[in-house]
């Protein structure tokens, strides 16, 4: 029985789509009752505040569903898209559109005939995880906008898998950009926090991709297959991993010496971030760590064509689960001393455990959006060090 009580259910597919597309200057129409878009804007998407309309609800009502008034909604979507002059329109599915069997592809085609911009159809149902929605949105973006490279940028890099549901406030990515630039590389595009469609269009000019989130993996494979761009997986946390990434960017394989103490930590969250934190905890602080990933992670360790380096290493004890009961059981094992996770998970702890808060928007929505924390680069390492000093 997968009951949720202390945790929030993860965002579903269309939240993931919205997270990918939000910064790109398009219009995302959530094809369902009004609530679908409201939830995203008010709860999961702080970028909404006092900004122009980006994620809108179709506002389906009971009779619209019963009578199937799709043609009327085609006109409405086209009217708004034309009036607002956005650079693309995306139509995404919801539980309601899924249950009544709306032909979203047909709807998207009909809208496309009425607007002068591309229309993306992303057929989510509201029951899949945000990962699936984000992956589909990334691929739809790539297929729609990416152009063959006019000229390769030798030290040009794309950052893939950067969605706010995993990365949080865009400011957290600054240390990564600095590290890449200090290593002499140019960020061609970031999929998709902070980039515009123009940058997405020229992403094929890059010579390397860096996958920093699980949601970017399929996109990395797509870019390798279609444009021959190889990729590296991982996020540098702390100074040592920063140096390691610089080595990987230079085409050199590295191994990081790890100290392992007796204390055992658990990290809960997105797997690329989770495994990167694990590596940092082991290398810099001598802590054994187990990853509890709330997204499937096998694909990160599979034989991936085009993957030329990774900062991630799996262990047998690492698990993928979204079950509240299972997570509670895992973190309450007696040998676990330390938990690094979103503050919501603290409610599952019985007795005393050391806890390092690391907000994950996909869990706690906007509750900790402005919390003072870091997890990337030198400042990420410093945050962990400071927190560890408190708990020791």
């Amino acid at each position: 029985m997968e009951l949720y009580h202390y945790l929030l259910p993860l965002p579903s597919g269309y939240f993931g789509v919205s997270s990918v597309l939000y910064d790109l200057g398009g219009l995302v129409v959530v094809y369902g009752p009004a609530g679908g878009a409201w939830h995203i804007n008010i709860e999961d998407e702080p970028r909404w505040y006092r900004n122009k309309a980006t994620v809108l609800g179709a506002g389906l009502l009971e009779m619209d569903v019963i009578l199937g008034k799709d043609p009327a909604f085609v006109e409405r979507i086209a009217t708004v898209a034309n009036d607002l002059k956005r650079c693309f329109v995306a139509i995404v599915g919801t539980p309601v559109s899924s249950i009544i069997g709306v032909d979203l592809k047909g709807l998207a085609k009909a809208v496309e005939k009425r607007v002068g911009v591309p229309v993306l159809c992303i057929n989510t149902t509201g029951a899949e995880t945000y990962l699936e929605g984000a992956e589909r949105a990334f691929l739809a973006l790539a297929k729609t906008f990416m152009q063959p490279p006019t000229q390769k940028i030798q030290k040009g890099i794309n950052i893939l898998g950067a969605i706010h549901l995993d990365m949080g406030n865009p400011s957290h990515l600054k240390p990564l950009f600095s590290l890449i630039q200090e290593a002499g590389w140019e960020v061609v595009s970031c999929w998709s926090m902070g980039s515009r469609v123009e940058e997405i269009k020229r992403a094929a000019c890059a010579s390397l991709n860096l996958v920093i989130g699980r949601s970017g993996l399929k996109l990395a494979a797509f870019m390798y297959e279609n444009y021959g761009i190889p990729y590296i997986i991982g996020l540098p946390v702390g100074e040592k991993m920063g140096k390691e990434l610089v080595q990987l960017l230079a085409g050199k394989q590295t191994t990081l010496s790890k100290k392992e103490g007796k204390k055992k930590a658990v990290i809960i969250g997105e797997p690329v971030i989770g495994y990167s934190l694990k590596r940092c905890l082991q290398a810099e602080f001598g802590l054994k760590a187990q990853v509890i990933s709330i997204l499937p992670f096998d694909a990160l360790f599979a034989e991936n064509k085009g993957c030329i380096g990774s900062l991630l290493e799996r262990d047998e004890g690492d698990v993928y689960t979204t079950s509240e009961a299972e997570i509670a059981a895992l973190i309450n094992q007696p040998e676990i001393n330390l938990i690094v996770a979103d503050p919501c998970y603290e409610r599952l702890i019985k007795g005393h455990k050391h806890f390092i808060p690391l907000p994950h928007t996909a869990m706690s929505a906007r509750f900790y959006w402005e919390m003072d924390y870091e997890y990337i680069g030198r400042v990420g390492g410093e945050y962990l060090k400071k927190q560890l000093e408190v708990v020791r």
Partner: protein, 432 residues
Amino acid sequence: MLIEKARIKIGDLKEKKDFPFAPLEAIGPNLSGWGVVETSLLLPQSVCLMVGPLACLRHSAFMAHARKFYDRFYMLPLEEVDIVMGKHIPKVKAAMAEIIKKESPKILLLSGTCCDHILGTEYKEAIKEIKEEFGVEVIYLVMAPLTIGLKPSPFEMAYTALYAYLKDKRTREDKKAINILGTFLPLEEESELYSLLKQAGCERIYQIPTCREIEDLNEMASASLNIVVHPLGRILAEKMKKEMGINYVFVPTSYDFEEVERNYKRMEEEFNVNFDLASLKKQAKEKIETASELIKDKKVTVGCSINGSCFELAMALVRYGAKLKAIFARGPIKSFEWEYIKWLQVHSPETYVYNISHPYLGEDLRVFDEIEIAFGVDAGIYCTQAVNIPLSRYQAQRYGYENIIWLFEEIEKNLANPVSNYDWIYKHNLLI
């Protein structure tokens, strides 16, 4: 200008169809209604199980965490295919049983979503079996935004869910007992309305949020009158009148002096008494005299997230001397609000009425730069230069002349120490 499509001058707002149509929906969860789960959990000794797709559950989970009632709230994610095939019912039944064993509630609220609403899922049998097995009251309700704008709305349906519980509990009439319907935060025992009702001989006054035990709730079925202070309670009051023979009086929370007077007049007629209002009126008048200077000739707007009717507050503010520039409303306009609109058409015809959910509203916020005070968190989003005064139902519940005094106290407090609209939304969680 695109904004023209999102607004109409109140002088031209003659009937329902004149209200600006939003082709797509931009914002809205703050609007007019209350959270479905939150409302249903006003019932004492209750826990709620919501069942549905992940996407639908997350919203309610967010609210549960923001308002800290998650200890009484459970969620069971379901696959669409299971819902369509009806395969989810055994899972839902098992989840109900598990929660009842763990929490021992007196009432279990089972909440479905739009999916159940569309498909007409029949939980009756499962509910009956659970009731028989555990002796727990189970009330089914549905959180279906598909029905927003319809009658009853999802919020009204949630509030009216209480009827399912009360309908069989009326065994007698307690002439000294009355119910106040439509409060979220409760009116306090020391409040003005309580003291007036006691003057009128009401010895027992019940509000859903003050019921601590299920036995208190049972007593609501014996009341002799329902006083409805928010439109949300009206359908429940209608049902209780029709099916249980309990009369009701609709006297919505007001900010205007004359409206307050009128509401009390209605109550006096109902109880056949004369309230002693002299000192209350005096205090309110004194407050208006001293504090209305603060808003005199100030350019103001009113949003529909305030506790009460945005049109009624707008009318009150004009009467208190403010320059009313805009009202942010959401359709459909309620029947009792047309009276206020008609008054405003005469006394403030240049005021614009905006459809708060219109997607063009955020395109150029400079339109609202002249606004000095914005009432309602939703109005505050657009009026970036204004002092924002929420008057939210999550802050306090006042009634009568006390509500007028509260209005001016909030004006004084917020003008002296403004809180940003961002903080009202993101730190105080007044917009969900």
